[in-house]
Amino acid sequence: MTRVRIENLVRSYGTVQVLKDVSLDITPGEFLVLLGPSGCGKSTLLSAIAGLDEVQSGRIHFDDRDVTALEPNEREIGMVFQSYALYPTMTARANMAFALRVSGATKAQMEERVTWAANLLQITHLLDRKPGQLSGGQRQRVAIGRALVRQARLFLFDEPLSNLDAKLRNEMRAEIKSLHERLGATFIFVTHDQIEAMTLATRVAVMSGGIIQQIGTPEDIYRRPATRFVADFVGSPAMSFLDATLADQTLDIGPARIDLSAYAFAKPPAPGPVTFGIRPERVSVHPEVTLGTHPARLTAREPMGADTLLWLDLHGQRLSARVPPEIGPALQDTVHIGFDPAGISLFDPKSGLRL
């Protein structure tokens, strides 16, 4: 178990700043997921933690040890790559034992560690095959095995599931999660897939444009997104955003007035224009007028099996609602919608920060 402390990391390629003063404190035994779209700097951050990429300034500490200048192998890490990066000419066994071999371990030590990791991952029967003779999922296991053999206290995963098909991905996801529980080591996992982030992480760091937008538990990230970017990026179907005007304890979207007395403001609000965000599943749709609803026009229905996504027009602004499938067909063109206060997020339209 390693505590990872990252202070003011800066990395740029030429004039492009990929990491802009990134700081992060990862507690021992944590499963931290770095989540973000491609080009957000998450892989660069992981490379910097691994020591594969030099940084221009900032420091990286593992526990109390400053590892900023250390080579990757001196950091006692295990790493799993997106393409697995298995050595094509070596058997699975040789791949897994490679790190021990170059560090001068004895045959018995290598055999013991490889057997242990192979048992853990149930790949004992594959050990004498070469990567070319393994399926995608099997390669993935060998790659994880190679990382385990090194007895690292910190494991790094660079989008390890993105090359697998959907079914295998779910399987390996569960496996990595149980591995984390069994090893108790610190895991840092890079992905652009929010489902992976939500299911795996103890904490998620959402990155964009070379900075960490928000770090928190998956629930935090989902329910109280710190910026409009996070709110938009996390959640599928995506949160709807509407222009609104804030007045004391209420909010106006056109003629619709919404009660905000249950909303937890980050700081005392100032009246004026705001961005109103609402998760689709927090929009209730009724055929008739009820208390606290607003009339809206139904423009499209998208049945998705487990539920149905409705596209609505509220005084000229578009939003979506996620409803049980049996509600959809019965609705007329004019419906009445209500907002669950717990699903509301308000953002400053200029800075994008949560209010």
């Binding site: 080579e71 560090s103 007895q151």
Partner: protein, 298 residues
């Protein structure tokens, strides 16, 4: 259980990568760049057998340009080069297109067309010299068939000896051109052939107006390779004609090597080298421009 980690300090792999390149960089800087500079410097001195460092300006160039042997040699570079490159390309293109018509035994034919490239120019020269020798060679053979007055004394004629170089050179290199152009033909999208059949365009017109223009970048590649052979050509001339009769088939490379070592006129040879270097630079510049032009056109 703990695993012993290597404790002795060692260089970072990237540092090692840089160190690995160091000998090559030194070799390059001294061997190539140093040598080229040295040659250019020597061309401005009156060095005979050993280097002498006294500035004589452009005297050597003046002497060189007034030397008849150099004039012939430099001219031959373009006569030989033009014919060699032209025929290699033409012959190579024709062979490549014919082989592309789905002929039987293609790989055997290709093997036969290409094998001379495995041989040295020394062997090429010796074989052709033997084939063209007037007493028992091709001339004798044709006469024995009944043409009593047939003469093919290419090697002994100052005007025509250069053509033997061209024939032997084309024999040696046409196969390479063919292989490169054939690969180019194969890489052309097969859809265009189907499109041409739908449009009813004859095959020869397709080659002339569509395929050959598409091959332009490959042709430039061949041009560069063949030009390098021309500029370096030495062995073939030494073995086949010895630069003769007289110095009618002399080329710059032979002129230069003779003046460096046999005639001990380092200054003149260096001046000739420098001029040849400028010629190469010009060829490279033109080929770079034409490649860019070809890319812009497509």
């Amino acid at each position: 259980m703990t695993i012993s980690h290597r404790t002795r300090p060692r260089l970072r792999p990237r540092t090692v990568a840089q160190l690995v390149l160091l000998p090559t960089i030194l070799l390059t800087v001294i061997g190539y760049h140093g040598s080229i500079l040295w040659t250019i410097v020597l061309s401005f001195t009156p060095s005979r057998m050993l280097p002498v460092y006294r500035w004589t300006g452009f005297d050597m160039y003046e002497r060189l340009l007034n030397t008849e042997r150099w004039q012939v040699a430099y001219q031959n570079l373009f006569i030989f080069g033009g014919l060699y490159i032209g025929f290699c390309l033409l012959f190579g293109l024709v062979l490549a297109i014919l082989l592309d018509q789905g002929v039987k035994g293609r790989s055997i034919l290709q093997t036969i067309f290409l094998y001379p490239i495995a041989l040295s120019f020394v062997v090429t020269g010796l074989a052709w010299k033997w084939l063209l020798n007037p007493t028992t060679g091709l001339q004798d053979f044709v006469r024995s068939l009944g043409w009593e007055n047939f003469t093919l004394d290419l090697l002994s004629s100052p005007d025509r000896a250069i053509y033997t170089l061209v024939i032997a050179g084309v024999w040696h290199s046409a196969g390479l051109t063919m292989v490169i152009l054939f690969a180019g033909l194969q890489s052309i999208d097969h859809e265009i052939w189907r499109a041409s059949r739908v449009d009813g365009i004859p095959r020869w017109r397709m080659y002339l107006h569509v395929v050959i223009p598409m091959l332009w970048p490959v042709v430039v590649t061949c041009l560069v390779l063949l030009s390098m052979n021309v500029v370096r050509s030495y062995e073939l001339i030494v073995v086949l004609t010895g630069g003769g009769p007289g110095f009618s088939t002399d080329v710059p490379a032979k002129f230069i090597i003779d003046h460096y070592f046999a005639r001990q006129s380092v200054c003149l040879a260096s001046a000739a080298e420098t001029l040849r270097l400028l010629t190469v630079a010009a060829i490279l510049a033109i080929s770079a421009l034409s490649r860019r032009g070809g890319e812009a056109a497509t």
